[in-house]
Symmetry: C4
Subunit: 197 residues, 4 copies
């Protein structure tokens, strides 16, 4: 089973999700006369949504880059890998929902908890796919040390999101701070390394 | 006529439909003061929608995998195959509508009936495309036994959805249970076999 | 300039437009108690929308197939061809709007007129691209007779849509009937011929 | 790191953004009886939105063509280039929002300012990617003169949008006129030249 169509399908899903993120922004509407001040105020009220969308954009981009590097190291795909990838995509397509919930209600606990839970599940399914390809079906072209390093890096993300989800109930703002920082960790230390630098 | 652009176009449609599924989720909105309990309750009220979206995600992923395997076995495409594929895609793009109707009204009969009908039609159009490629225009690189096995498996799906649609009027909940189980049948016994396992 | 990215970009736009068509369907909502009869009635009230969406799906699929065959015959692309293709895509992305207007108000004149006008413009821009590639920049791998036949077929579509647009003001229903029949003409006599049959 | 998946992902994002632009159009709805005149009036009230969508369509198409030419000249990609490309895409996906704000309120200052700011940032991130590929990491297959010419052309766009943004507060209509003209400048003098003409 060639991996090219998995790439095409996954790239499509990543590209659509990352673009749909902005669709929750609303053009302010007015019942009475339109005023510059009221428009600006209505726009600024969407600043938390802007921030949560940017964080999710970076999160999805980080996952896409890691997915890119993972598939690049893959010699071939098999049936179970295809379905582990579909499981990852199932979690990915839901990312806009808690993103928009946080943007609308940044001080509530449920949105922060949902976001951490969803991203922990996304990260775990990616780690499961990597584990299966590295240690069960032997589908990757990597040495033992590279496999171990990528595996470790794959665990860090979901662990941090799980911590965020646990923290979300007592302290939702702290959870949001953790979510904003996780992509930076991956940005500085990507699982597949910063090749070609 | 090369098959690469059929792949690209179909993959695009599959990826978009599977991602659009989540767009029906609503961020709860409040007229009065925002309360954690009310938010959580409004979110939990969307649980049927979550379940129907996950079932449809798996259904579309199953069809995509089968489509993947079918096109892989295809030696070349012709004009009629292109249009049988377009007919399949016509049914696929409508899947979100009855999915959302079931999510909003899981106890009504019309949504359950529509879903079964639409998926029976999707499955039949796939079976028609496979029949045409296998027995009419001889476009596939498969032996007689493989063709027969894939053909049989292609009939099982639409037949089960037709049963679901028939059951939907007297017993919509039973129909939903059937719909949730069909992808599992395909998951366990895919038409093209679980290659590379 | 290679033509592969024009294909990828155009296929993406075609796939998205054809999938977005269904997004205007509304899950019926009720202020009072939910009743099977009321749900069914609300659903059946969207039948004109279903029909207009199916017609537009077929129209876009016909254009995509013709685009597929045209690009297949193209030896290479140049800068002006790229922009003629972008002009075609500009008209294509607007197709859902008059489709939805006809679905909501099938007896009004303005929706029928807009639809005919937009599709006449889409067809004309395709014809312009084909003319440029065939007779100005000599970018296609086709003999003089094939070029002439494809050119003629490319003019028929916009001409029929222009007739529909003219008829729309006195007789909108007649215009809709014409729009429903045009794709059938192309289906029976595609500009690039029914290759491999 | 091969550049093919960057192309596929970017093409996906460009294709989706350019297609989503039209989703802000509303089918007019009526509380009382439906009248041809009222429908036409409601449609014509969306003319500013039509114009702002067409301008943004052309802007995104211009960036896509420049991106096309830039990636074509790229020998290979590296990790930082991937992220500079993601930064560009982050700005691109937001383009529909100020487009729709201008379409709804063409006489307000905030929409005009937001549009100019966003497109200046898009242009700057493209220029940064081009600078990095041309002068820092040496990833492009172009001579020194071609690099300098492309670099200069890459600066003109963001500079003009910055001027538009500055002008937007005292004179929003003038800013809109500038935004409508910038793509024409690129259309007449594309950064990568009009190859194959």
């Amino acid at each position: 089973m060639p991996k090219s169509r998995i790439e095409a399908f996954s790239d499509g899903v990543f590209a659509i999700v990352i673009t749909l993120l902005v669709l929750e922004f609303k053009v302010p509407s007015f019942a009475g006369p339109i005023e510059e001040q009221a428009f600006l105020a209505a726009l600024l009220a969407q600043l938390p949504l802007l921030l949560s969308c940017i964080v999710s954009f970076v999160v999805i981009a980080v996952i896409w880059v890691a997915h890119h590097q993972f598939l690049h190291s893959l010699r071939q795909a098999d049936w179970l890998l295809l379905w582990l990838n579909n499981l990852l995509l199932l979690f990915i397509v839901f990312i806009p929902i808690p993103t928009w919930m946080i943007g609308a209600y940044p001080s509530l606990k449920t949105p922060a908890l949902s976001y951490g839970l969803l991203l922990a599940l996304s990260g775990l399914s990616f780690a499961a796919m990597r584990y299966y390809a590295s240690y069960v079906a032997d589908l990757v072209d990597l040495g033992p040390q590279q496999r171990r390093r990528a595996m470790t890096a794959s665990i860090v993300g979901p662990a941090l999101y799980a911590v965020g989800a646990l923290v979300a109930w007592p302290a939702p703002r702290l959870a949001l701070a953790i979510y904003a920082l996780v992509p930076l960790v991956y940005f500085l230390r990507p699982p597949g390394g910063r090749r070609a630098r």
